[in-house]
């Protein structure tokens, strides 16, 4: 029995779609083979205090998942350290007692980065939510890793500053998680992603030592650029205890528009012709028909449900420039057969449109309960081609796919709409994704733009990086974490 369960656990992580397996989406909690030694649990309690160490079945079940569909695994305990020394002690204990650590923010990740692994504890950093220092002379901010992204936005915008990365879950996701996954968002096209704003950090290494890297200077070439190395490491190389971010002046004004199209190709072409006019909008979001219908059903903002696709566009900056660029953008859409271009009349209306767009992924669950989304990215010139490929693959495998995404930076989220109780459908979805990944890579793109590799896309990583690169990553991981205690098995197998 133990062996059987062990095999099914291993199987879980070797496949991107573990649901092929009979007891895939949930393992039988009541008969899990491993239980952490009481002695280790008492030591953990000694480090963080009894009130910050949870081992009840209810707690374990509710930390067995993150935002990723279909994956879950029970941790042995959940701990909430309150100082960097405690984090360090926990990591040292893990090396001695040989258990794994999975760091966690708000648990909204979409590639399984914070899903527990075998014999692990969750280190919950979500209570580290202080903004430590906003430096208005150097335009930087020191934050603790549990600060919620939208809270940071609100705080710095109060004093006319701006932190652009805005992932879909920004109302709850944490900066620590954003840095670990190198999250993007709606403003990626013009402003880049999280990595473009990280200036430094304090990290607890896999051996429990604490280092600082980076700093407030724009220029710094002393030694290896370690801070960039931790960005996007998905919790496999260190646990952040403090993060230094870059801020920029808040754009003076912005204009938000909607353009409706009767074909996806036209929308794709409109994006290319906007960029060809040397305009970089802050946001160019694409929604297909299925997504539009679900979003409208949830948000009720008056989107037409009979069009094939829409673009949500935003230009920002100096008022005169915004005025001129908005007109050019609208014209580019019209020239590519937009049936209508609408400009948001107020900040509130613009906010509503963007909030509705952020709900797209979850809103798709209105049509079918299990929404498995992907995160492919292609060079933006190839957007129209990729959209067509997705449609073809959807037909080929008879899988309903809703597609939305950041058309401006080539990052699309084709989402398979399935029901996890229908095993055959899930198997077809897996095949469809395999092909979508291959096509994206062929077009010069990648399998994930902003969600991370985690567990979900592990088996496709080689398509993009090649096996030698994965070997290199593996040797780096081994050098830094010889016992494999930090989030083992994420990104690649150890």
């Amino acid at each position: 029995m133990i062996l059987l369960l062990y095999v099914s656990c291993t199987h879980k992580y070797t496949e991107s779609f573990p649901i092929n397996n009979e007891d895939s989406s949930f393992l039988n909690f009541n008969s899990l083979p491993v239980t952490m030694n009481q002695n280790i649990l008492s030591q953990l309690q000694n480090i963080v205090g009894k009130n910050n160490c949870f081992t009840s079945q209810e707690d374990k079940i509710t930390y067995s998942y993150d935002g990723t569909p279909l994956l879950s695994f029970l941790p042995e305990a959940i701990v909430r350290p309150t100082s960097k020394e405690q984090v360090s002690q926990i990591v040292k204990l893990a090396n001695i007692e040989n258990f794994s650590i999975v760091p966690r923010g708000a648990g909204t990740g979409l590639s399984g980065g914070s899903i527990p692994v075998e014999n692990c504890i969750i280190v919950d950093m979500s209570r580290w939510n202080n903004i430590i220092e906003i430096d208005t002379e150097n335009l930087t901010v020191w934050v603790e890793p549990g600060v919620i992204t939208a809270t940071l936005h609100a705080e710095v915008e109060k004093i006319g500053l701006f932190y652009p990365p805005d992932p879909g879950s920004m109302n709850i996701c944490t900066i620590g998680g954003n840095v670990a996954e190198n999250s993007g968002g709606l403003r990626g096209l013009k402003y880049g992603v999280t990595k473009n704003y990280v200036m430094g950090m304090e990290v607890v290494l896999p051996n429990g030592e604490i280092i600082m890297c980076g700093g407030k200077t724009v220029k710094d070439v002393a030694g290896y650029n370690l801070k960039d190395f931790f960005i996007g490491s998905e919790g496999t190389l260190g646990i952040f205890t403090k993060i230094l971010l870059k801020l920029i002046p808040k754009p003076a004004t912005s204009k938000t528009m909607l353009a409706y199209f009767n074909s996806q190709t036209d929308a794709g072409k409109a994006v290319s012709s906007i960029i060809a006019q040397k305009i970089i909008p802050a946001t160019v979001e694409f929604l297909d028909k299925t997504t539009i219908r679900c979003v409208e059903d949830f948000a009720k903002i008056g989107l037409p449900t009979d069009i094939e696709s829409l673009l949500l566009l935003e230009v920002d900056g100096h008022p005169a420039v915004v005025e001129e660029e908005a007109e050019k953008v609208a014209e580019a859409c019209r020239q590519n057969n937009a049936v209508e271009v609408k400009i948001a009349q107020s900040i509130e209306e613009a906010m509503k449109l963007k909030t509705a767009r952020r709900s797209a992924f979850s809103a798709l669950a209105r049509s079918k309960p299990t929404t498995i989304l992907e995160d492919i990215t292609v060079p933006r010139s190839e957007i129209a081609v990729m959209l067509q490929k997705i449609n073809d693959i959807s037909k080929k495998y008879n899988i309903l796919i809703g597609t939305f995404g950041h058309a401006g930076d080539g990052n699309l989220h084709p989402t398979c709409l399935t029901d996890e109780r229908n095993k055959d459908e899930i198997a077809r979805a897996e095949k469809a994704y395999g092909e979508i990944f291959e096509e994206a890579v062929k077009l010069g793109g990648t399998i994930t733009g902003e969600h991370g590799t985690g567990i979900g896309k592990r088996k496709y990583l080689h398509l993009v990086t090649g096996t030698t690169a994965i070997e290199t990553m593996r040797s780096i991981k081994k050098a830094m974490d010889p016992n494999g205690i930090l989030n083992p098995g994420k990104i690649f197998e150890l």
Binding site: F29, S56, E58, I61, G67, P69, S169, A360, A365
Partner: protein, 434 residues
């Protein structure tokens, strides 16, 4: 434990809906709006966490443990998560089913069992018993007993918890609403609308004034009002606390009573009652005798603000120069999705200075009988509401639900704030000078 193969550790009747459970994709967008998650920061106290717990029990992977029951009771059932959920998961229905299962399996705590059985099953569900209790309460509150126990601190000494609760209990009326009003009330002008009115259970004995104000406002808008004598408590508190049988019996009785008339609308002044009566169709959907009539009744239910918004509010003749804010009752904003109508109407009143309340749709902690069953947690929510109310510096805060009125009135007394908590209809009546 009597479990069937497909209901896990739940009994086979009224199991939490599997489609609703599967629809939750645990994306986490519910986390920032959940008042209990805000307190503990623990996943098990969050909507997606509770859904996962219910799913685990349904799949036989978790027993009906004390921890499970605690979390189901800790939930306010405010349904803010439903408003936030892009996937449209019916969280409230899931938690209520889980609570029903807890009751069916006899797993409630002793105090809770007694409270829910006596209070919800008997007293609220039976008009005469409720009136008797209200009369006793009136004597207690108004003939010096409460005052004596309070100043001598005897009550505090005997049962500290109960003495706090007495502060939270509504003030019983000397005369009850249904005893002072006729069954059919006609306006001075020829009636434009024929409306039914639910006088309610608690509203009838402790909020007669608000009921009377509602009647005056409806008359002012040329409505003929029928208050059927045979009507009973709507059943919402019973259903929210997981007693589906009693709730269904009450619902059936009201369906029988209200469908005898041809109403343009049935008007509610209690958000909880309105929300639940709009769900009658759902609760009785597989009852061959009642399904159709229940659905048609549900279609007629209107909150007073929703109704006035639709028929057009008459403008007061004189300016009403007051600063006013609006608190969203959970069962209006989240369960019935009514938030713009009352605000729009308030803003139309000449002279009225409307101030938006920060976190207006955040639960005040009343939540039915939550402030009785989970007093300490409820007070944390109330403190947050009071802090936000203080920021508005208003003369009045408007709330369309008896629970919210009592809870915030308690908060204002406790913090000695200069603000009055009133029902929407009471404010309108002041504005009209009726």
């Amino acid at each position: 434990m009597a479990a069937t193969s497909n209901s896990g550790n739940f009994l086979a009747t009224d199991i939490p809906n599997d489609d609703f459970l599967t629809q939750c994709m645990h994306c986490g967008l519910c986390l920032p709006v959940c008042p209990t998650f805000a307190i503990t920061g623990r996943e098990k106290s969050s909507p997606r966490g509770r859904i996962r717990l219910i799913k685990s029990v349904a799949e036989g992977k978790l027993g009906m443990t004390e921890g499970f029951i605690d979390e189901m009771n800790f939930c306010l059932d405010c349904q803010a998560c439903e408003t936030a959920c892009p996937a449209g998961v019916k969280y409230g229905a899931l938690v209520e089913s889980a609570r029903n299962q807890i009751r069916l399996q006899g797993k409630q705590g002793r105090g809770e069992k007694i409270l829910k059985k006596i209070f919800l099953r008997n007293i609220l569900s039976n008009k005469n018993q409720l009136k008797f209790v209200a009369k006793v309460l009136w004597i207690y509150q108004n003939r010096g007993i409460e005052w004596f126990l309070k100043i001598t601190r005897i009550a505090e000494f005997l049962t500290p918890k109960l003495s706090k609760l007495q502060e939270l209990s509504p003030r019983a009326d000397r005369e009850f609403f249904d005893e002072t009003h006729l069954e059919v009330i006609v306006p001075r002008n020829p009636p434009k609308y024929k409306v039914g009115f639910l006088s309610g259970c608690l509203m009838n004995v402790a909020f007669s004034k608000e009921n009377d104000d509602t009647i005056k406002i409806l008359l002012h808008h040329d409505c003929e009002i029928i208050i059927p004598k045979e009507q009973v408590c709507c059943g919402s508190l019973q259903a929210h606390n997981g007693d589906f049988e009693t709730a269904r019996e009450l619902a059936k009785k009201n369906v029988d009573v209200f469908t005898q008339y041809q109403f343009d609308a049935i008007v509610m002044n209690s958000a909880g009652c309105g929300a639940f009566m709009k769900e009658y169709g759902h609760y009785l959907h597989d009852d061959p005798v009642y399904a159709e009539r229940a659905a048609s009744l549900s279609g007629k239910i209107k909150d007073i603000s929703e109704f006035l918004f639709e028929i057009g509010l008459k403008m007061p003749e004189h300016p009403f120069n007051k600063r006013v804010t609006y608190h969203d009752a959970c069962h209006l904003v989240h369960a019935q999705k009514i938030s713009q109508q009352p605000r729009t109407l308030l803003k139309k009143i000449p002279g009225l200075q409307y101030v938006e309340l920060p976190e207006a749709s955040w639960c005040c902690g009343s939540a039915g009988i939550y402030n009785v069953t989970q007093y300490e947690d409820s007070m944390i929510m109330l403190d947050r509401k009071m802090t936000n109310l203080a920021l508005t510096e208003c003369d009045y805060v408007v709330a369309n639900n008896p629970g919210c009125l009592t809870q915030m009135q308690y908060g204002i007394r406790k913090q000695k704030m200069h603000m009055e908590v009133i029902h929407f209809v009471t404010l309108l009546r002041k504005a009209y000078g009726l």
